[in-house]
Amino acid sequence: MRHQPILTVNNLNISVSTPLEVVHPVRDVNFALQSGKVLGIVGESGSGKTLTCMSLLRLLPENVKVEFGSINYRNQNLLECSAEDIRKVRGNDIAMIMQNPMIAFNPVRTIESHFIETIRTHLPITKRLARKVAVEYLEKTDLPNPKAVLKQYPFQLSGGMLQRVMIAITMSLKPSILIADEPTTALDATNQLQVLKQLDKLKKEYNTGILLVTHDLGVIAQLADEVAVMYGGYIVEKAPVLKLFNQPMHPYTRVLLESRLGLTRKKIQSVSPLSTYSKNNDKKCPFLDRCEEANHSCTSYNLEYREYEKDHFVRCVKIHESVGN
C-alpha cells in the first residue's frame, strides 16, 4: 500500500571540521518523504535538524561535509549530480523556507526583485508576466495589498509577512518538496497559525511533500503525518504522528512529550549542544548520559535502528530487549 516516496535519504552522515577537531553532528539518518505528506523532524537545537535540511540541497557551509550517504530525488542522487543540476532542483523542485525571515532577504533589494528573479531563474517568462504571477501568489497567501508589498524592502515588513512572502515565492514554482526549517519559530501566535494554514494549502493544492523541521510539538501535531525525533545527530524514533504521541517508545521521546504536556517535573539535564555531538567514531547511544533508564546493556549497544512495529522505528537497546527478538 505504500506510495513510492519522492525523496529518500539513506545513511546520511555529516561532519564538521573546526580548528580543533572534527565532529559528526548528523549520523545514519534515514527517511523518506512522500508527495502530499508532511514529515516532521523534532529535536532540540544542536540535534542536527538544520544541517540535515541544508544537506538535502547541498547548501552546507564550507567546513561541513557529507561524509557518506545518499539523497535520492526522482532517480538522481542529489549528492552526486553536477552543480548546475542541483541548482535547477533548488527552488523549482525542492524549495526551502528559511528559519528567520527577517534576515533571509537582502535588505537592499525589494521584495519584487527577490520574487521576480526566482521565477525568472526557473521559468522563461518576461518581467511583466513574472510580476503578475508574483501578485497572484501573494494574494493567495492572504497578504493585504500585494502590489504595495512588492515595492517594499524587507525591513519594512514584519516577520510574519516576510514568512508569507517566502511561502508565496515557493508556491509560485509549485515545487514537489518543501523544506521548512523552523517556519514558525520567529513568529507570534497569530502569524504562526497563518503560516501553518498556508503550508497546509500548499500541501493540498500542489501535492507538495513537506519536510517540517521544528522543536515545537504543537506545530507537529497540527501538520505532520509522520514524525522523526532527532537527538545528538541520530534519528532516535520515527513513527506516524498519532502513534508517536500515543505510544512514544524511546526514553528521549517520552521525556520530550512529558515536558511538553507538563505531566512531569522531571527536567532533562541541560547539556551544551556541542557535547551531544559524537566527537569520534565510537558508537555510543547519544542519550546515554541523560537517560534515566539506562543500564549496563546500553553501554555495549550498537545503535541498531529497528522497525519495532510497522512504520515505527526506534533506536534504543532497551526497547529492542523488551520486545524481544
Partner: protein
C-alpha cells in the same frame, strides 16, 4: 586531517612577522650606527666626482654634486626613521590622553571633542599639513609640528572608540560603582585594556607617516639640504633620472622596503591580537 587554514595563516604570520621585524631592527641598527657604516661623508660635495657609477670608493656611485649615494642612503635612514618616530610619538602624546578623556568622561567634553574632530577631519589632511609647513616655513621642526597638529585627531578618535568599547565592560562599571577615582580607573583598567590595540595602530600607521614625511621632503618642504633624506634624494634626482635612473631607484627602494616592513609587521601584529581576543586561537 589536513592542516586547517587558520593554522596555516598563523604560521605564515609568524614568518612575516620575523622577516619584517628583522628588516625593521636592521634599519634601526643602520640608523644608530650610520656614522660607522657609511663609507664617506654624506654631505661632502665634490663636483669633479659628480654622477659617477659604482666604484670601490663609492659603492653605489655619486649624485649630481659628487656625494656618495650609499652614505646618503645610510644617513637618510636616520632622518627618515627618526622623524617618523618623533611624529608618531608626539601624536600619541596628544591623542592618547585626549581620546581617553573624551571617551571616558563623555557628555559635553566628548561632544566638544567630536565637533573639533569633525572640523579638522573636514580638511584634506595632507593639504593642511602642506599649508602649515608653507606658512611656518620649511624645516624639520615645522614639518613635525604640521603633521602632528593635523593628524592627531584621527588617532584620538580611534582611541576614543576603543575606550567606548571597554568603558561599559562589567569590571570597569564595577570599579566606578566602588567609587574608584577616575584617574585610577583610567590608569589601572582603561589604559591596559586598550594599550595593545594602540600599539597595533602605531605599527599599522607608521608606514604611512614615513610616506607622508618623504612626500613633504620630496616637495622640498621637509628636511632641508644638505641633510640626507630619501624623499629629498628623489627630488634631487628629478632632473637626472632619465640618464641616471639609479639615483632615483635606490632611495625609492629604501622607502618602499621600510614602509612595507612596517605594514607587514603591523598587519601580523593585528592578526595575532585578533586571534588572542577571539579566544586562544591555535597554539
Amino acid at each position: 586531517m589536513k592542516l586547517n587554514i587558520k593554522m596555516q595563516r598563523t604560521l605564515l604570520n609568524h614568518k612575516l612577522m620575523i622577516i619584517s621585524s628583522i628588516i625593521i631592527l636592521g634599519m634601526i641598527g643602520v640608523a644608530l650606527f650610520a656614522s660607522f657604516l657609511a663609507p664617506n661623508d654624506p654631505n661632502l660635495v665634490d663636483i669633479a666626482q659628480k654622477l659617477h657609477g659604482p666604484s670601490s670608493q663609492f659603492p653605489l656611485g655619486t649624485d649630481h654634486l659628487g656625494r656618495c649615494i650609499l652614505s646618503r642612503l645610510i644617513f637618510g635612514t636616520q632622518t627618515s626613521l627618526g622623524t617618523a618616530i618623533l611624529v608618531m610619538g608626539f601624536m600619541m602624546i596628544i591623542s592618547v590622553p585626549l581620546g581617553i578623556i573624551a571617551g571616558f568622561i563623555g557628555g559635553k567634553v566628548d561632544y566638544l571633542f567630536m565637533r573639533i574632530c569633525d572640523i579638522l577631519m573636514a580638511f584634506p589632511s595632507f593639504l593642511l599639513s602642506l599649508a602649515l609647513v608653507g606658512i611656518l616655513g620649511p624645516g624639520l621642526f615645522n614639518l613635525i609640528l604640521a603633521m602632528v597638529l593635523v593628524q592627531w585627531v584621527f588617532y584620538a578618535r580611534v582611541i576614543r572608540g576603543m575606550v567606548l568599547s571597554v568603558r561599559e565592560q562589567n569590571y570597569i562599571v564595577a570599579a566606578k560603582i566602588c567609587g574608584t577615582p577616575k584617574f585610577v580607573i583610567i590608569m589601572k583598567h582603561i589604559l591596559p585594556a586598550i594599550i595593545s590595540q594602540v600599539v597595533v595602530l602605531v605599527f599599522m600607521d607608521i608606514g604611512g607617516v614615513i610616506l607622508a614625511i618623504s612626500s613633504l621632503s620630496f616637495l622640498g618642504l621637509g628636511i632641508q639640504p644638505p641633510e640626507a633624506e630619501w624623499g629629498m634624494m628623489i627630488n634631487d634626482s628629478k632632473s637626472f633620472f632619465r640618464n641616471y635612473p639609479s639615483l632615483m631607484l635606490y632611495p625609492g627602494i629604501m622607502i618602499f622596503i621600510v614602509v612595507i616592513a612596517f605594514n607587514l609587521f603591523g598587519e601580523a601584529l593585528k592578526d595575532a591580537l585578533d586571534m588572542k581576543r577571539a579566544g586562544g586561537g591555535v597554539e
